[in-house]
């Protein structure tokens, strides 16, 4: 159980990115009435931006 918790928390940045940042970016895009480039939907755009940020946060162990 402890190992599971440790693993989950180790991947915290990725989980936070996909759990929170992705939908947040997506909803901000929609709220701003902005159309993402290349015909991307707000959700795909959120996945790209949030996912990338999450991977960076995961590797660096920090967001900023």
């Amino acid at each position: 159980m402890i190992q599971v918790i440790k693993t989950v928390f180790y991947f915290g940045p990725l989980l936070f990115a996909f759990g929170f940042i992705v939908p947040l970016v997506s909803q901000l895009v929609q709220l701003a009435g902005w159309t993402p480039p290349l015909g991307l939907s707000p959700l795909i755009f959120g996945l790209i931006v949030g996912g990338t940020y999450g991977v960076i946060g995961q590797i660096r162990g920090r967001w900023i």
Partner: protein, 291 residues
Amino acid sequence: MSLPKDLSTLSNAELMRLEREIARNHQGHFPYLAVTWAFANLAVWLSLWPLVLFGVIPLWVGFIISTLNIMLCYLPSHEAQHDIIGRPGSKWRWLNETVGHLSTIPLTLPYRIAKLTHLEHHKHANHDELDPDASSAASGPLACVWNTIQSGQPRAKGGFNAYGEALARIGRPEVVLDGVIYNIVFYGTLSALAWNGFALEAALLWWLPRWIALIYIRYYLSWAPHHPATETGRYRDTRSFRSIVGNLGSMGMQYHIVHHLHPRIPLYRTPMAYWEMKPILEARGCDVHEL
């Protein structure tokens, strides 16, 4: 009580007797304000969710109120951490523990973790390795803000991340589980709201207000009263200071030195105790020149 005009001739034992006499006069008073504050603050914060989600109040209003709520939620728990509301075995003990557990929910800080690590902070204030809040030390106000942001990063050493080590050191590693549960609930709630179309509401009612509150609380409760945090010892690890936002704006922390010397004095009585005690503090060589 009135103090002798010349304290320089008194021994340390005599100074201590006078100091304790003043402290005794301020202890044992029931902190009605802190108890009312704890429940009212939590009730307002909880009510923001339906009010904002159902469109009764705009999100920006909710954001401001939530930020204030979370900034204010720590101190009632702080009174409980020092058993000020009800000592163990007293008739108000249940209330003490209820306030302790409930008031810091918006801050996502479990009571047992807050209490155990805070008591360690009192025992070892400013000690590089033993003070769980040692990472609050910073060269100036902006450095303190930046330091708090850095300490809150996923794999940072300071901030809440330092509390696990402190709990292990005092033989209470199991209490970390409280933090695990709080974090799962916090991030789980944010994610559930976000994926159901309320990401902005989650961000502005909890995530961002919590960050602002953490910076504010750490600034006034941890950094300012202990700055420059280079000395240890009863009369040198904490100071009084003058806040540009006054005593209310700094949550009464201008007089935090009294709290460190006599933690059982309720927050609302620390200014009175400070002014009565000030000549003794000066005689002891405390840093009380700003106030």
